[in-house]
Symmetry: D2
C-alpha cells in the first residue's frame, strides 16, 4: 500500500503527473459540513505552478472538481472524491528518462520496483503534482479544524542560506498564521524575500536549484490529543509530511538543537495562566509523550534542492547498462520551497485532523 493515510479518515490519493486526472477520495468525513470551495481553491492556488518567476512555467488551473460526497453542497457522510484534470502535459519531454534515470529522483528505484512498468512521464505517481490532491484534502481538513479553533500555518524559514525569522514558539497565534496566508510571500519578514528570490533566480540562471526549510505551527489544539508510541503527534505528522516530495528531515520544537542543551535548559517549566496550564518556554514544540501539551505545535521540515536541474549530470542507461550523461529538458522549479508551504500545511492538517477524530 502507499497512498492511503489515516485511521479515522481514509485519504486515498491517486493519479500520475500525466494521467488523465489526479485526485483524492476522503472517507470518514462527518455529514453536515459545507466546505467553502472558494477557500479551498484559494488554498490550492498557493501551490499551483506558473505563478511567479521562481516556479515552473507549467500553468494549470488546478481546480479540484468534487464528483461525490456532497448533497446540496454539504457533506452527506459518503466518501468525497475530488479530481483535478491534467491538461497541460507534455509527455514527450520525458521519453528518454525511463532509460536514463534523473539523479535524486525516484526514477531508478521506481523502475526496479515496478519492473520497468513505472509511469515515467513527469515522475508518474511520484511527481510533486500529486501534492495538488494532498492540498485539496488538507484544505478541507483545515476548514474542519478551524471550526474547532485549530489553525495551521507555515512560512519559509530559509532558502539556502537566506533566513526569515522563526516563530516565537510560545506565542505564535492564530492571528499570526492568518496574516501569513494573506501575505505576498509566506514570510514573517517580507523583507527577506528579495534576497531569497535573488538566490533562486541566480541558481536558475546557472541551470541549478536550491532548497530550504519550512517552519509550520498549529495553534488551538487542546492538551491530551495524540497517542503513545507509534501514533503520537510527531509520528503521525512525520508520516504525513514525508509524503511531500524533497523533504529530508523534520524536527519538532527545539529539535536537533535540544541535543546540545542541558535538561535544565531544555525542560519547559509549567505555570498556571488563568486556569490553564502553560509552559514558559516551548522547546517541546507542543508535544510531550506523543500528546499535545496545549502549547503551539511547531516543527521544521528540510527540503533538498529541486533534483531537476538544467546542468548536465552523470547518470546511467538502465537498458544498455552503461554510464551516460543526462541533460534534463522540460520545465522545472528552481526551488520548490515556496510552493511547498501549503503542502506542508496540508499534510499537517491531515495528521492533526485524523488524531483529533481519534481523540473525540
Amino acid at each position: 500500500m502507499s497512498s492511503v493515510f489515516g485511521n479515522c479518515i481514509k485519504v486515498s490519493i491517486f493519479g500520475q503527473s500525466h494521467s488523465e486526472s489526479i485526485g483524492v477520495v476522503i472517507d470518514g468525513l462527518r455529514a453536515g459540513f459545507k466546505p467553502d470551495i472558494d477557500k479551498i481553491n484559494a488554498f490550492m492556488k498557493r501551490r499551483a505552478p506558473g505563478q511567479n518567476a521562481v516556479s515552473t512555467p507549467r500553468s494549470e488551473a488546478d481546480e479540484a472538481h468534487i464528483i461525490s460526497g456532497l448533497a446540496d453542497g454539504v457533506t452527506c457522510g459518503a466518501p468525497l472524491c475530488a479530481i483535478i484534470n491534467n491538461t497541460n502535459t507534455r509527455s514527450k519531454d520525458y521519453s528518454k528518462l525511463k532509460e536514463v534515470p534523473r539523479p535524486a529522483h525516484s526514477d531508478f528505484p521506481a523502475f526496479v520496483k515496478h519492473s520497468g512498468f513505472n509511469d515515467i512521464r513527469g515522475g508518474g505517481h511520484f511527481s510533486a503534482r500529486l501534492t495538488a490532491p494532498l492540498c485539496f484534502a488538507g484544505a478541507l481538513c483545515m476548514q474542519l479544524l478551524e471550526k474547532e479553533n485549530i489553525y495551521i500555518g507555515a512560512h519559509i524559514s530559509s532558502i539556502k542560506d537566506v533566513h526569515d525569522s522563526d516563530f516565537d514558539m510560545v506565542s505564535v497565534s492564530k492571528a499570526e498564521l492568518e496574516k501569513l496566508k494573506n501575505a505576498p510571500v509566506p514570510l514573517l519578514n517580507q523583507e527577506a524575500w528579495p534576497l531569497m528570490e535573488q538566490t533562486i533566480l541566480s541558481a536558475k540562471a546557472e541551470g541549478d536549484s536550491v532548497g530550504g526549510i519550512i517552519e509550520c505551527a498549529c495553534t488551538g489544539l487542546k492538551p491530551g490529543v495524540g497517542e503513545p508510541m507509534f501514533d503520537g503527534i510527531e509520528n503521525r505528522i512525520a508520516q504525513a509530511i514525508f509524503a511531500v516530495p524533497a523533504i529530508k528531515g523534520i524536527e519538532f520544537g527545539r529539535g536537533f538543537e535540544s541535543a546540545k542543551l542541558f535538561g535544565s535548559e531544555n525542560n519547559d517549566p509549567f505555570y498556571f495562566d488563568g486556569g490553564e496550564v502553560k509552559t514558559k518556554t516551548n522547546n517541546h514544540g507542543g508535544i510531550l509523550g506523543g500528546l499535545s501539551s496545549g502549547m503551539p505545535i511547531v516543527f521544521r521540515a528540510a527540503f533538498k534542492p529541486t533534483p531537476s536541474i538544467a546542468k548536465e549530470q552523470d547518470s546511467v542507461n538502465l537498458l544498455s547498462k552503461h554510464d551516460e550523461k543526462l541533460k534534463i529538458e522540460g520545465r522545472h522549479d528552481p526551488c520548490v520551497v515556496l510552493r511547498a508551504v501549503p503542502c506542508v500545511e496540508a499534510a499537517t492538517a491531515l495528521a492533526v485532523y485524523d488524531l483529533l477524530l481519534e481523540n473525540v
Copy 2:
C-alpha cells in the same frame, strides 16, 4: 489506537513501567524461523539499565520470556508473545507526580487525555521502559533481515557537544555495523567516549542531564523497496522512530544540511559498478521517492536531554491549581543516548522488515 505498528506484521506493545509485566505480540511472522534467543537477550542487554556509571541504577534482568508463537523453538505461524516481568519497581517514588507533573514528560497531557486515570507510576505506558519489548521485537526482525543480508546498526553521533565521527554514507558496510555492536561503546571512534562520559557525569553531578544524536545505517536493502507517498521508507522509519521517547528530530542522508546546497551539489550522480547501479555520493541517504536506491540507508535522530533531573523545577499542582516547585526523586539516566542506540536500531528494524514483506 497507539501501540500497534505495521502493515504486514502487526507489532502490539503493551505494559506500563510498573505493571506486572510488559511485552509484545508480533502477528504475521512466517513459520519456520528459529530465533536465536541468546542473541536477542544480548541485544536487549545493550538497552537494559544499571550497566554502567552513566545509566540509571534500576537494575533488571530484562529477559524476555516467549509464551507463544513457537513450536520446538521455531515460529509456527501463530502470533508470538514475549513478556518481561517488572521486578524492580519502587512505586512509592512516584506518588506525588500525578498532582505535580514533571516538566518535559508526558505526565500533564496524559493526565488530561485520560481524565486523571493515567498510570503515573514510572510514566506508565509512556515510560522508556516500553522500549524493552520494542527491542525484543526489533531484535527478532533484525535476525529475519540478516537472513536477507540486510544489516542495521547505529552509533552515538554526539552527546551534547562531543562528537563521534559520522558514517561514510557511501561505504558504510555490514562489517562496520557488526564491529559497532561488539564495541565497548557504540562509537566509530572509541576515543570519543571519555569526554562523552565526563560530559554526562558532570551533568549528573549538577543534578542535570544531557541529550545527543544517534546515527543509524541499514545496508543490504535492494533497490525498489518502499512505497510512494505515505508509506515511503522515510515515512515509516520516522513513524517507528518517534516511538522511542525523547526523540525530537530525524533527518535522512544529508538532511537539514541539504537545504543549504545547490541541486548540483546535492544530487547524487549514478554510475555502474560491475552491473549494479550506484551513486557516487549518498546525500539521499539511500532513499529516493520513498523507495530504497540500493545505497545504504542513513539517518540521524536527535534526543533531547533526559527530562528527569534532580534540580528543582517549576511546575504546577493540577488539583489545587497553583504553581508549585518540584524536585524529582528516584533513579534516572543522566543521558539516555547510550541505551537508546539499540532502541533506534530496533524501531528501524520493524519499519524495514515490514516494508520488505510488503515488497516481496
Copy 3:
C-alpha cells in the same frame, strides 16, 4: 470508515446514486498488468440495469472510465481510479423520502446517523448503484486471479421458491464457471428460468418483489491460503459480501445444513488423487480453519426481496413525527438477484485476491 476494503490492496469505493460520478480507487495493484477493458465492460454489463423485463428500466451505459493507474494501458504501480458517470438520474422522484423513510431501506438509520444530512436521492451512498464500481474492481481482480488459474463464478440458486440445481461442490470446475458466464441467464439449468421469470413478473404485476439465493464457487485456489481467526477466508468473503445490498445471510459448504449432521457424515475424508490431497465430499466448502483446503470454495448468499415496492406501505414522517402511508414512485427492480450475480462474484474476487496477495 466504511467503504475501504483490503489489507494488501485498498479498494476505496465512492459516490452516491445521484452524485455526478461514482467510482473506485484500487491501491496496491502490481505494475505490469494489462487489464482487458472489454472484458471488464462485458462483466459490468451483466450488472447494468435496463437489460430485460425483470430489471429496472433505468438505463445507463455504466462504462467505467479509467482516469489513473495505467501507462500505455498497463498498470504502473500507481493507484488505479475508475469513474462511472451518473447520467440518467431523476432526483425529483426521491424528494419526499427524507421525511418518510422507505421500509427495509437504509433511509431511516442513515437519516439518524447523518443528522438528516444523508443524501436521500436514490439512497445515496447506500444505493445498489455502488455495486457498479464494486463490479469494476472485482472484474479487475478476477482477471488477476485468472492468471493464477483461479476462477470465480456464481449462479442463481433460487428465486423465491423456484430452484436451480446446485453446484456439485466436489467437482465444480473452471469450465462450468465459464459456461455460466456465457449462458443467457446464470443458471445451471436454463429451463428453470421461465418459472423464475414468471415469479418475478407476477410479483411485479402486484406491485411486489421477490428475493432469492445466489451460489458462488471459486476454483483453483491452492491449499493453505487464508489466515486464522479474524482474517480467514470465510471472515473476509463474508465481510466483502455483505457490502452487496439486500444480502441477509451467507453459508459456506454445507452451511446451515451441517448443523443437522453427525460428525461422521459431515467430515470430509481425505485421499490422495495423483499426488494431490483431496476430500471425497466437500461439506467444508473448501475452507478449513479459515484456510483453503484446495477443494472448490462454495458458498450461498441469501437476498431479501427488493425493498422498493409499488404497494402502499406503513411508514412514519420523521419531521412531523406521525405515522404516514408511503407509496414509492420511481423505477425499481422487482428482483435484484439476477443483477446481483456479478456483484457476488466481484465481492468474492476482492476478498480472494487480497488474501492471495497476503499469502504470497
Copy 4:
C-alpha cells in the same frame, strides 16, 4: 495478518493450544473503567471445558490474569494484556497428527501454509482454545456496552434436530437476555435440554458428534450505528463471528427465509412508539443498509458437528503420501454448541463495541 480485530480498538489474540500461555492484548480502551473481574471470570467459566457430561473432560481453571493496562484496578489508557496459562496439556496425544491430518480440521491446510512448521499440538493457534482470550475480550467489551445500556445474549437454537424456540425478534429484551445468562442451560425453554443432552450423549456413545445453531441478540443499540458497504454491522459481526471455530453460516433477521418472501411480507413497516421510530416486525434483524435501526439485532450462526470424533476415518499420510486410516485419540467435545454460546456473544461484543466507538 490474522488475529487482530478492530478499527477503534485493536484486539490481538495470541497463543496455541499447547503453548505456555494464550492471551489477548486490547489496545484502545478508554481510561477510567473498572472491569468487574469476577463477572469476567464467570463469563469465561461458561466457555471452560470439563463442566458437564457433554463437554471435553480437559479441565482447566481458565482464569485470565491481567498483566497490564490497569492502575489500581482501573483502565489507565494503556493496552490491556490478559494471559491464561495452559496447564493441562497432553501433547503426546497429538504426535501423529502432523503426518495424518484430521478430517474437517485445519491440520492439512495449516501444514501446507506453514510448510510443516505449524504447531499441531491441539490444533495450535487454530484450536478452539483460543476462544478463551476471545471470551475475555468479549466479556470486557460487554461490560463497556452495558454501561451504554446495550446487552448481548445468545441461546442454543438447535442441536442437531432438537429445537429451542427462537427469540421474538421484535420484543427480545435486556431482561430476557440476562435471564438466559443465569439459566442452567442457555435455552429459552429449559425443557428442550433433556432431549438435546440425550442427542449429544448418544452421538458420543457412538464415537460421533453433532452440531447446532446459536441465536444471538443485541438490544439497546440506538439507530444509526454502523457504516455502509464493507463496515456495516453485518459485515463486522460476520467477520468477528467466523473467528469462532466450526461456524459455517450466519444469517441476520429473517435470513435465508427472507429469500422466499414477497417484499410486502418481508418489509418491516415503521410506526411511532411514543416518539421513537420502531418497526412492527423485525425481519431485518435490526440492521438496514449496514446501520442499526434501533430494533434488536438478531442473527443465527450454524455450527458444524465437532470434527474430532472417535470413529475411524479416512485420511492421508502427508509424508509417505499414501491414504491412511485415522483414529483420533484424546479428549473432545461431542458437541461444541453449548460452550460456543459465550464465544458467539463475545465475538459479537467486539464487533458492536468497535462500531460503537467508531460512531461516537
